[in-house]
């Protein structure tokens, strides 16, 4: 879902709007994170960001000769909460754009919104779906749904952002992006729930977001 500059270079207005929106979200999450997190988050932040970077390199095949890969936004949201997730994913996207040409520089604002902001916000969807339930099954299904929604919503916004580059505009980009990412989102949900349930079993203390959900504490 990483938009290359080639698809957005003719529409600097779209790129500028998305840069502005994303910077606003990053300033917000920076302030919230600074107020809420203690030093103890540092190791988890670094390790989970590095994991998401390598996981994004492994594309899995879906139908139609197409592939997808884990975005990892909801996974980070469970571990780190919403605000550190946006910052963490932004670092991943920045390194991808600078070193590997994966996602553009002009398109960086759009990519941050579609993946980092959507990933962070999916925390609130997990909380909404989970309510005050203490059932683990409900928690895991909330994580699955939130993962799927974060990818599909990101793809929807992405389809709008890239639509000026297509002769058919949104009529072409929205249905096709939604179709592919509805399938890719199932992979995202499956991988995220497996990762979260394994961590719950192996390292319960690491699942910080889970603790936050249980305590109903808003960061």
């Amino acid at each position: 879902m990483h938009i290359p500059d080639g698809l957005i270079i003719n529409n600097p207005a779209v790129a500028a709007v998305m840069w502005t929106v994303s910077i606003a979200f990053l300033v917000w999450s920076w302030r919230k994170a600074k107020a809420a997190y203690s030093r103890s988050i540092t190791a988890l932040l670094a390790i989970s960001s590095a994991f998401v970077f390598v996981a994004q390199m492994i594309n899995f095949p879906i139908a139609f000769g197409t592939s997808g890969h884990l975005v990892g936004g909801t996974f980070l949201a469970v571990l780190l909460g919403p605000y550190a997730t946006m910052l963490s994913m932004t670092i991943v996207l920045l390194m991808q754009a600078l070193f590997f040409g994966d996602g553009g520089i002009l398109a960086f604002g759009a990519n941050v919104f579609n993946m980092a902001v959507m990933g962070g916000l999916s925390f609130f969807l997990i909380r909404l779906l989970n309510r005050n339930s203490h059932s683990n099954g409900r928690f895991v299904s909330s994580v699955f749904v939130a993962s799927w929604v974060s990818v599909v919503l990101g793809a929807l916004v992405c389809a709008l952002e890239i639509s000026p580059a297509f002769a058919g505009g949104v009529l072409v980009t929205v249905p096709s992006m939604l179709l592919f990412h509805a399938v890719i989102g199932l992979g995202e949900g499956a991988i995220t729930t497996v990762l979260v349930s394994s961590l719950q079993r192996l390292q319960p203390s690491v699942v910080g977001g889970l603790a936050l959900l249980r305590e109903r504490k808003v960061l």
């Binding site: 670094a46 994991f51 390598v54 095949p61 991943v92 070193f99 096709s176």
Partner: protein, 92 residues
Amino acid sequence: MRKYFGIVALIVVFLAVFVPFASSNPDGLEKVASTFGAEEHQPFWSGLMADYSIGAVGSSYVSTVLAGVFGAFMVLLVALLLGKAIAPKSHG
């Protein structure tokens, strides 16, 4: 610091195991762009290691794994700095 050496080792193992299985099919966005003939321009910046490969390394497997290790290390480093910037005092 020891734990970070462990993490880097785990990252190398993860990439070494999974890179051969990674699909080389276009991703959802690339497929949409090629299927519907998007008006796509040459990027002005394609990165130091475009497409996760290091030109000087012959084997594409080794090249991708090395690029991945480098990228993961950079992410780890910048995220550590971010963590220290978020919580400068050790009150945690």
